[in-house]
């Protein structure tokens, strides 16, 4: 279902929607045969499950393990196969660099070139982040014709390059040859109209090579994933909501910003975030509330710590419900089973609570319980946003 279709049906309302996203919530059974969510004591989520409807969603498609970016886009109703974010832009989001319209962003690597100019190490021996910072501050001083240069440290050998200047196209090939023994490539346009950008990037590359010439092993740079801030319909345009994000981590704040959400100041603890929600509840009508640590502990393989974050989140539900939201969606962006120490393809438990839910027979919020729920076992994640809007009485009838 295309966003353009929903857009035509969206209508204004006074109702408020909260998306409580426990990152990586889906899991796999631990020693006792229960998943993290099944193991956690969640009386408040269970109550929502009982009153609302449950199921499992699929972020992309059966068997596909999503990155955080695509998984979040799905949750907010944007088909991530259609709405793909360039890697340069993702890198910018990841370090909270404020990309502007018209900027082109690329992922950069410091690399080592030999005396013949050929790449001998694509990662410059994984230099320290401190060295990276020194080098980035040198590269930031480069001046190019008709544009501004921003060079920001990411981590170790990785950095972000942003060029700002009117009319720069991002339709450029990578300069990273992907193998050692070849020289770094020149920038090359992939379509007509990128000549100005080619010139700007090559100008930067030539000057960077000069600046870094005595900085062995980090004596050159490789660039990948040139991209621009995408021109997507904002959530406001698409769904008629006034959305705000309550997320502590840059990556998620970045994605929210891409979709036109207001990014609220908040802390990294769930309780800080809830304070923010309470404070701003009157000012917006869609809230993206992001709990990061379910995912972090899943990635660490720390089963019991993940359980604990779920329980902490559950504890705060009564305060959330006291705000009288019209629709509450509780789910994750994807699964991060502690057992796998990483994202996975497994469907993600989800519940929708509103006074217009037709209750199913699910009484507990857990993976296996949700299998019996009316949202189904593999609901396309993009459907959650539509269902939230419907339950908030924010969608008109289709056809007469």
């Amino acid at each position: 279902m295309e966003i353009e279709f929903i857009q035509k049906l969206a209508k204004p309302a006074e109702t408020k929607i909260v998306f409580l996203v426990m990152d990586g919530i889906g899991g796999l059974p631990g020693e006792e045969g229960l998943t993290e969510l099944e193991k956690a004591k969640t009386p408040n989520l269970d109550k929502l499950a009982r009153e609302g409807i449950c199921g499992l969603h699929q972020p992309i498609a059966e068997g596909i393990t999503p990155g955080s970016g695509p998984a979040h886009l799905s949750l907010f109703g944007y088909d991530p196969v259609k709405y793909q974010v360039g890697r340069g832009i993702l890198a910018a989001l990841g370090i909270n660099f404020p990309v502007q319209e018209g900027d082109i962003a690329a992922r950069g690597n410091f690399c080592t070139i030999d005396s013949q100019g050929k790449v001998s190490d694509r990662r410059a021996g994984r230099i320290s982040t401190e060295t990276n910072q020194e080098l980035c501050s040198l590269l930031s001083q480069i001046k190019i014709e008709g544009g501004e240069v921003f060079v920001e440290t990411v981590k170790e050998h990785r950095f972000l390059l942003v060029l700002r200047g009117g009319g720069l196209s991002a339709d450029l090939a990578d300069t990273d040859p992907q193998v050692v023994g070849q020289a770094p490539r020149q920038a090359r346009s992939l379509s007509a109209g990128a000549d100005k950008a080619v010139k700007a990037v090559n100008d930067f590359l030539a000057k960077a090579k000069e600046v870094l010439s005595d900085k062995h092993p980090a004596n050159m740079v490789l660039l990948r994933g040139f991209s621009q801030h995408p021109a997507w319909p904002s959530m406001g345009e698409a769904f008629g909501v006034k959305p705000a994000a309550i997320a502590g981590y840059p990556m998620y704040r970045g994605i929210a910003k891409l979709l036109g959400m207001e990014i609220l100041d908040t802390g990294e603890e769930i309780e800080d975030q809830l304070n923010t929600l309470e404070k701003s509840f009157n000012d917006y009508d869609f809230f993206y509330f992001h709990v990061k640590k379910t995912d972090s502990y899943g990635e660490d393989g720390n089963f019991s710590a993940k359980v604990k974050v779920v329980e902490q989140t559950d504890n705060l539900i009564p305060r959330l419900m006291k705000l009288n939201p019209d629709v509450v969606v509780v789910t994750g962006d994807h699964s991060t089973p502690s057992l796998m120490q990483g994202h996975s393809w497994h469907p993600v438990p989800a519940l929708i609570w509103s006074k217009y839910c037709r209750p199913d027979k699910v009484n507990k919020f857990g993976e296996r319980d949700c299998l019996a729920g009316s949202l189904g076992k593999r609901l396309p994640a993009t459907a959650l946003m539509r269902l939230a809007l419907a339950n908030a009485l924010r969608l008109d009838k289709f056809g007469a």
Copy 2:
């Protein structure tokens, strides 16, 4: 989900996948109110069902009864609506004729024409297969300009025609008028660039008419379904696997070959096939293991014999599991209820076993038990391949 999408995510791994396909496994209740699979004693499959995940898949779409070709394509991740095999090629696969790239293949019928050259019987009175063989051997001697001619008996009035020669297009209309009282049509191109093929086919038709002139009732031929070996991505290209087929029947070996599987020598008994699997287990990483007789007995309406084949297959599961496969998929290509004596549209029970399955509550491998499983009640069959690859840790994350 397009194969091209999966192709970008596929990554190499040491893991091994076994697809155990019990042809036509899905059934309908017999006298005791149980389906063939429900009736069969299957302790080993039930154990896999308990440890893994279950559900039912839908080969094509709700209500669509698939032929063996499309149903198998779906199982292997190829959308059979997009990847259509021409009928000529299917006929060649069915009799194990080694079609080469560039060949054009057509289904042939011997027919009867009257003194005015009009078709009076499109099937030449269903001549015997023996007569067919004699006539095919005569037609095989036909020489045409710039090409080779192969004419092979299929059965009764049906034969296969293959023309081999550079640059022959298969974009030709059928010569079969589909009704009696009209003359067989001349070959006719359906697009530019088929002139050479038109000439070759008409040359063949004229000479066939001559050869058959005194062979009443089989005194002419009709051709349908001109087609070529399709240029599809092989399973190796698409999914990064090294696949092998352990199938006794030509049709299934043919389909496997179309997808780039290695066709292993084996016998027609399930036990022979298991011996082959054991012998070759180190040499490949994807195995298509085809059990034919569940379907054959279904087609015969022989409920109890179908039950018995399921039990025989179940008996061999411990030997299969001893090989330590990483992922086992057990399912059928479609349903063949004994009650209907033919293929049907009913969803097909399926289970996936791997150490990364999130168990559901299914404890028995049967149609009704599978309804509660986490694969869902109508999983698109093409998703099975993706899920198998995911469980084998052979797919990269989508997006960062």
